[in-house]
């Protein structure tokens, strides 16, 4: 493992997002304008958007979702930033995590001092079957898709191998969904910002109101076991194991470390960045772990000079519940096979020893695929600056981490963040 360093330091000084959800009346450019304005408001001191020098936009498939390619200059335009160079990054669900890394590299190279990093995805124009087909294009369409695999199917296969190796039961996955919905209920930007018990009560209330037979779930566990309330998608993954189809956008302001204090007294420094790729799922030696995540995190930790134990909060790529469990092991937070126990023991809860996905994660906050990676940085920025309101993790947070996966782990990008004052 090479211990590569950035040529100079980079900090996040602004971070904003649109509300995540399903918005029939908004295109990705409308959502990006919302995110951009939200980012501007988050900058503590004077900030003139005209000072932005370069733009990186993460986006998976505006081509198929909105019949719109070449989206980066459009996002630059709607933010009033033409003629600055604008680049679209596509690495499936890791698109904007990689866009963040490209922004960091651009500043660290010395070429630019101020970069805008964005992420956009507008997914809800298409019917669900076409969204499924579009997402499947992030897999190997020649050798994986013809087998009948869907994205829930891939992660379900990972779950089957994990259960076989470690003895996890499908019920263990539900701990992740319950926790992330508890966190998301405290995030005003979340798509499904409601706890699962409240969700269940809503279903009961709605049945009563409509004069329909009132369901007799004894508690939310009973609800999650009900095949009508929580139908199977790809065994062992049910509806509540899957992140939703989401529209959303994110904007981050990155600057060189030397000028960070012009924007805020509390910059969040990015001290580690790692990225790796991997072969198709079927070609891997180990189906219970994502090698690109292990490599990306090792690279990021080495660059930052920290270990997994030093990380105080993390946003990890929970596109499916099993993905969060595997991620917490790949990142070195827990030993292989212990991730599901940590979720069961509430270690990953907001008040646990290792809070994971305080934003609600992709599961509850929503998963606008090309915006999700940058969205993780928004939560880390808020948590580390003590601005996460009701979902704020108690105590000092000197170090945070984000972990963003593309596909089944064909891409993984990890960042380590530091607060110095």
């Amino acid at each position: 493992m090479s211990k590569k360093k950035l040529n100079r330091g980079v900090a996040v000084v602004g971070a904003g997002m649109s509300k995540f959800g399903a918005f029939s009346d908004k295109s990705s450019r409308d959502l990006f304008v919302e995110a951009f304005q939200s980012m501007r408001k988050s900058v503590d001191k004077e900030f003139n958007p005209a000072d932005i020098e370069t733009i990186y936009i993460g986006n998976f498939s505006s081509d198929l979702f909105e019949a719109q390619s070449h989206t980066a200059p459009i996002m630059a335009d709607v933010a009033g930033l033409a003629p600055r160079p604008a680049v679209r990054i596509e690495d499936a669900c890791a698109s904007s995590g990689v866009a963040l890394r490209q922004g960091i590299l651009a500043i660290a190279s010395g070429l630019y001092d101020i970069a805008l990093v964005g992420g956009i995805e507008k997914m809800t124009n298409l019917p669900t079957a076409e969204v499924t087909d579009t997402l499947a294009a992030a897999a190997d369409t020649l050798f994986e898709v013809p087998a009948g695999f869907t994205f829930p199917g891939f992660y379900a296969a990972i779950a089957s191998a994990y259960m076989h190796k470690y003895g996890m039961q499908p019920e263990h996955l539900m701990n992740v969904a319950i926790k992330n919905h508890e966190n998301g209920a405290l995030n005003p930007n979340a798509q499904f910002g409601v706890t699962i018990p409240d969700w269940m009560q809503g279903r009961i209330a709605s049945a009563k109101k409509k004069g329909k037979p009132v369901p007799t779930w004894s508690d939310h566990w009973d609800y999650l076991h009900d095949a009508r309330a929580n139908p199977m998608i790809a065994w062992p993954l049910r509806l509540f194991d899957c992140s939703p189809i989401t529209d959303g956008a994110v904007a981050l302001l990155l600057v060189s470390e030397e000028i960070a204090n012009q924007f805020t007294d509390h910059p969040i420094h990015i001290i580690g960045s790692g990225q790796a790729s991997d072969v198709a799922l079927h070609d891997r030696d180990d189906l219970t772990s994502i090698a690109a995540a292990r490599l990306a995190s090792q690279e990021a930790y080495a660059m930052a000079g920290v270990t997994a134990d030093d990380i105080r909060v993390a946003e990890v790529h929970d596109c499916f519940t099993i993905a969060e469990i595997v991620a917490t092991e790949d990142l070195g937070f827990f030993a292989p096979g212990d991730g599901y126990k940590a979720a069961e023991d509430q270690v990953t809860a907001r008040d646990g020893a290792k809070p994971i996905n305080t934003s609600g994660g992709l599961k509850s906050k929503g998963h606008p695929v090309g915006a999700s990676g940058a969205g993780q940085a928004v939560e880390i920025f808020k948590q580390m600056r003590g601005l996460a309101d009701e979902r704020q993790v108690a105590g000092d947070i000197p170090l945070g981490l984000s972990h963003n996966v593309g596909g089944t782990g064909g891409t993984c990008v990890v960042h380590v963040y530091e607060r110095r004052n």
């Binding site: 087998a147 009948g148 695999f149 829930p152 790809a234 065994w235």
Partner: protein, 145 residues
């Protein structure tokens, strides 16, 4: 090049060649003599020694189940085959005795009772046809023995 000649000429290591072999009911991978390693899907370049003088090798299709799922929410192509909520199907990662792995639909298992399906189940490659007329294509599947 004539059509007959193409069967005797060494085929390029492409997905089209792989599909052409499937049409001939052959499961073909590539082989690196330096590393004594097989690759499926066939690779043109060995990722270990970077040699590009690989050879086609026919695999016997004996395998076991390495990971699987039973899919209830199907993609369009499988909906067109009659699968979906009321008729789930099994997709899996298969480990061949020849030391390679591949994704495939798994036949001969009870997709409606996935908790009964065992990783390690012995499998045999099978060539199935999907689509009609000009759209008809041969796909690789595996069947539980």
């Amino acid at each position: 090049m004539t059509a007959t000649k193409s069967t005797t000429t060494k085929r390029a290591f492409t997905a089209a060649s792989f599909d052409q072999y499937l049409n001939e009911k052959k499961l073909m991978g590539s082989h690196c003599a330096n590393c004594d390693a097989n690759f499926l899907p066939p690779r043109a370049i060995c990722p270990d020694c970077y040699d590009d003088q690989l050879e086609w090798v026919e695999l016997d299709g004996k395998a076991k189940l390495a990971a699987f799922t039973s899919i209830y929410i199907a993609p369009t192509a499988m909906i067109n085959e009659g699968y979906g909520r009321d008729k789930p199907y099994v997709a899996g990662v298969v480990e061949l005795d020849d030391g390679v792995k591949i994704s495939a639909q798994i036949l001969g298992l009870d997709a409606a009772n996935p908790e009964e399906i065992k990783i390690g189940t012995p499998l045999q490659a099978e060539f199935i046809e999907r689509g009609e007329g000009d759209e008809k294509r041969t796909f690789l599947a595996f069947r539980a023995k």
